[in-house]
Symmetry: D2
Subunit: 370 residues, 4 copies
């Protein structure tokens, strides 16, 4: 896609904002969606949907708002709809509307397919369809070409709409850090030890008795997700089908007493071993495709390399690029594999709602949503 | 040494307690020494020594006591001595007295040698002499035979006394967990990601602005210490000299907002790959030598295997065995190496003052201190 | 009661331990009961009872043990009983058995009366019966004579057993600190600002997103409890009936990111204004009655006065006297009322399970349990 | 001053930005000054000054930047000047330049007077001159008329420049909350229990061993500052002199494990007792003078009233109004005095650098700085 066409898309988008619905709007990630969508240049929250116990009530009553700052303007008094596309459609006219999904795991599979069947572009932060071979799992800077799977998805499932997913909160940072190095040196092995913030578990989520002054060296299903999703994200599309990358990933997940911001210590092995300086050059120079760079929520640069001895740190670096940039530091050799480094990313922005939002912007820019 | 002789030693020790001096008594580790030595069956604190600014004052005035509970009985009013063996000797009569060292790095090298030269058995928690080829670096359950280096140390340095060291706070837990597995399956590679408590940095140590709700992925010199000391502790004594173990160690150190208790995620590769069940059997069955098991501060067992999905955790497990046992859990296979597991140990007990104390008990039990 | 008779009671108690049941044994306070009852000289846990979903299963399966250290010996394999006195009675033979209650509020009222009706001495940490005019609310060092209400309770309710309660976790520290000052100078007004630990809310209790790096200036019902219970505890028994103390209490409750240990800043006004030195003398000299001093769980002294500028602190002082002593410091004048001071007490020991335990010991020592 | 003239002032200010120097630029408050001055419509950082050990080095080398985000543009490479007005003057031309002071207490008294003598308008966050009878202590919304003291200050000290101060971080929130209530109902007594964030102590400041999972019920000099400054801020100017307000204030200060945001629980007594609803009306309606409302850093409204049962909280409310608004909640009656309420304010914005900045804006708007 040429630079020109992107600008044209942007211009077109500016003319009218696309209506979107947030599914699971009252939860922790749902709230983050609403926050990030405030004053968005392309999208406008036109409907909120949530479970039966919230539906029918004004948002401000149905939701225990847990982010700093107030409920965004225009949201508090909006009545929450049920998770039924027909009910939502009353508030969202027009073709190919967008549904952001922050649904609880228990209902996501059924509800998301319902909306895809009703013609929605479902841009999901949930794991329900992440591992389906015909559903794209995408980070715009990493594997935008995986959107091609949508054709296969629609064909196979006979959906007028479709589902596109983003990775879990921790994988988001890992895959984005590894991608440029993989392009340059071909990644073979990844060790990842994670130190994860409590906001990743939602609300009420982690009990304070478990979190305060403590480490819990276990997060249910997390290690498997990281290992699998990293291979999927770095995989290739051939003849419209996706092949997993052939790399070994070992993840060790820990919960630490941090509100926001996941820290990951990586050790990496490549086909061609780079020096730390070469890796730093590649990371610093990474920009993603021209199309992606033009998206409203795309950070520039997506990867910030820190040169201080003790950075990145979640408190200082999670909000880089509005929470959409990841920070990489301590790039150094490893006695076992080739290189070690530390990655910090914002788990509920780049790792959740912001990831879906960027995916939606890419879908618009590439014409999947018209 | 037969079981009988240990008991005889114990009996002999019980008759009269050996006087000990704590060097650097007013600091964080010094205080832990005093706490652990309270009512010790073999040792009695007979002198306290610290820097010029503390010397000459009653301990309670010179020290900002920072442990829960009161200053142990008999200590508060004792006048702190200078770091001069002659000054200390006035309070400790008799031959081969014991000096526990919790000295600051800046002065440790000179002061410890001064005490060794004055005939003291210096049992040190400090790194000053840890890497000298003729100074034992010992964990009683791991490499008690390294005490044989004392002969070489004395001969080479012409000291009537000697220095014996224990590893840094994090290595203590790693080496103890790896030792029985090394014996059974021969360790080749170690990946260690650490989540370390702030008490390891002493007082005032880590600033609260760095610690609260944050991760600092860097501790000065820590990774090098872990990598080197693990190889030394698993090394062999041949012809009175020590050979480092030939294994690769990669350590990634992180400071987390925990008061006490280091968590380490390990991934291990062996010459003969064990199943998780085999590794658990070996870890659960490990007891250390008969001599060591008879020592007053030796935990029984030294390694506690946890079977819960989310254990060990510092809050729940750091005090196991009075802080001298380590807890190992989540023993499972690794996609890259052979096995993964999580270790929690108390960094200022098993990882510092308790480590020196156990070394001193071993020195007595084996007749190095008469 | 003479000193002699106490000793005789102690001796008698030592001959055989009394069987006790813990109601609500699987919860946070229930676990603390089990921990404090381990090796108790007078009591022995003979039965565990909990809700239907726990009953019938071994304790180790029914309970997510959340205290440092293991489940006490002999408890893990014991099958949990229902909250039915008949079911429990199968494991507890004999007359006037003791039931410690750590029941959830929703069921406490009904279950406790059921056990009292079945002849049990119900020693309760729950608020269900705390405000009944005929049910004693007791801290042994503060108002042991309130046990006389038991006669009225039994008569009025026709129960062969009875219920005795202790105050809520925060009031426990306040009332104990204020009592000796009230005796000496007659208290009139109390300002109490509390900084309360999260363990007071049980498990899972406070969400980590609310607790980490935050203050929540509200705890449901807490301020009212403190204000009311302080007046009750300092009240008098006349002709077998209790009169509330005539004093004004204003409490402001805050939740802070502390695991264990409540801090309370008090400002007090008296009929006769004492100097700080006079108040310190009274607090330091306080011992409680002879009977109470002889109880196995009674700390000696119950009030520890700290003289450092920055004490007491929960981290350093909560475990004083095994968690049963309170620490008072910063005794100084107040520009508005007479005196200010800071109190730290262990909220789940002195403030919960330990409070009930001490009440049960007093009931035995005074012959209410035979 | 009419609305028109303010706008005129704004327009004039917009034409050229006034050059300012930050004294003590490398410290925690100094950094916050630089952050708040980024893109300020009226002011431009033209010089940085700090102690001898920083002077002569580029800011990025002299300073350990501790705020989230990068060093503001144009600051990193600027060479730090000494605390000598002549040295600074080289970078700041023109008359009546502005010096923001974040100096350490030890040197503030001498250095600030040196700059006032050299003709600077010293707008200080430091306590050095706060209690001088001829130096204004000002919060623009509370007592803007106290700036009249400048005439007396200049006359008495023969300074071409002057010093204006703002209150300590905790008093800032208290005085702002109390002011409108004082105007409406005449305040007589104030009880204040504070729960203060660690950033108030600067860097390294509070040791993590003191802060983590703990409360320290003492902050050196804090209670006296709150008690005295509240009386000064609510005092009156008569015949060019300031009279302290006649009210009784009792403050109890606590440090809690929070990074930013002070929480204060107030209990207040008035000459005319308001109902909670009346107090809420007054607080909600408060706007400060027209002049103040027009200042670039003035929040609108300055006081946000929260109606949720558990608000305000530092995590959720400290950033209200860009950190310049305070949040008040839990307005309710008090059993001892008249009303209780909870105030949260950002201690390093409204309580420090932002307070000085707003004072400087007021000085410009009122023509004290020309």
């Amino acid at each position: 896609m040429s630079n020109e066409s992107v600008e044209t898309t942007n211009e077109r988008s500016a003319r009218r904002k696309r209506p979107v619905v947030v599914l699971g709007a009252t939860g922790a990630v749902g709230q983050r969606f609403l926050q990030l969508l405030t004053d968005h240049p392309w999208f406008e929250v036109s409907a909120l949907a949530a479970s039966e116990q919230s539906a029918g009530r004004p948002f401000s009553e149905a939701c225990r708002w847990g982010l700093p700052g107030e409920i965004p303007p225009g949201i508090a008094d909006r009545v929450v709809r049920t998770l039924d596309p027909e009910d939502v459609r009353r508030e969202i006219p027009g073709s190919c509307p967008i549904a952001f999904s922050a649904l609880p795991a228990a209902v996501a599979r059924e509800v998301e397919s319902r909306f895809a069947q009703a013609g929605y572009a479902v841009v999901s932060n949930v794991s329900a369809y992440r591992y389906e071979p015909d559903v794209p799992l995408v980070i715009p800077e990493v594997n935008p070409e995986h959107l091609l799977l949508i054709d296969r998805e629609r064909a196979r499932r006979s959906w007028p709409g479709f589902i596109v997913t983003n990775p879990n909160c921790t994988t988001a940072g890992i895959a984005l850090a590894v991608k440029p190095l993989d392009e340059a040196f071909t990644i073979e092995r990844v060790f990842a030890a994670t130190l994860q913030a409590v906001s990743g578990a939602g609300y009420p989520g982690v009990a304070s008795l478990d979190a305060l002054g403590n480490v819990v060296p276990y997060i249910d299903g997390e290690e498997e997700k990281i290992e699998r999703e990293t291979r999927l994200l770095l995989g290739r599309i051939t003849d419209g089908a996706r092949t997993e990358a052939e790399l070994l990933v070992s993840a060790q997940a820990h919960r630490v007493p941090v509100i926001d911001g996941h820290t990951v210590s990586l050790s990496l092995q490549f086909e061609r071993r780079p020096s730390p300086a070469e890796a730093i050059d590649v990371l610093s120079g990474f920009r993603g495709s021209e199309t992606v760079r033009g998206l409203p929520s795309a950070p520039d640069p997506p990867i910030i390399v820190r040169h201080e001895a003790d950075r990145p740190q979640p408190r200082l670096d999670r909000d880089a690029g509005g929470g959409m940039a990841i920070s990489v530091g301590r790039v150094r050799t490893c006695p076992l594999l080739d290189l070690r480094m530390v990655v910090v990313s914002h788990n509920t922005v780049r790792g959740a709602a912001g990831a879906s939002l960027l995916n939606a912007e890419l879908l618009v820019a590439e014409g999947w949503i018209v």
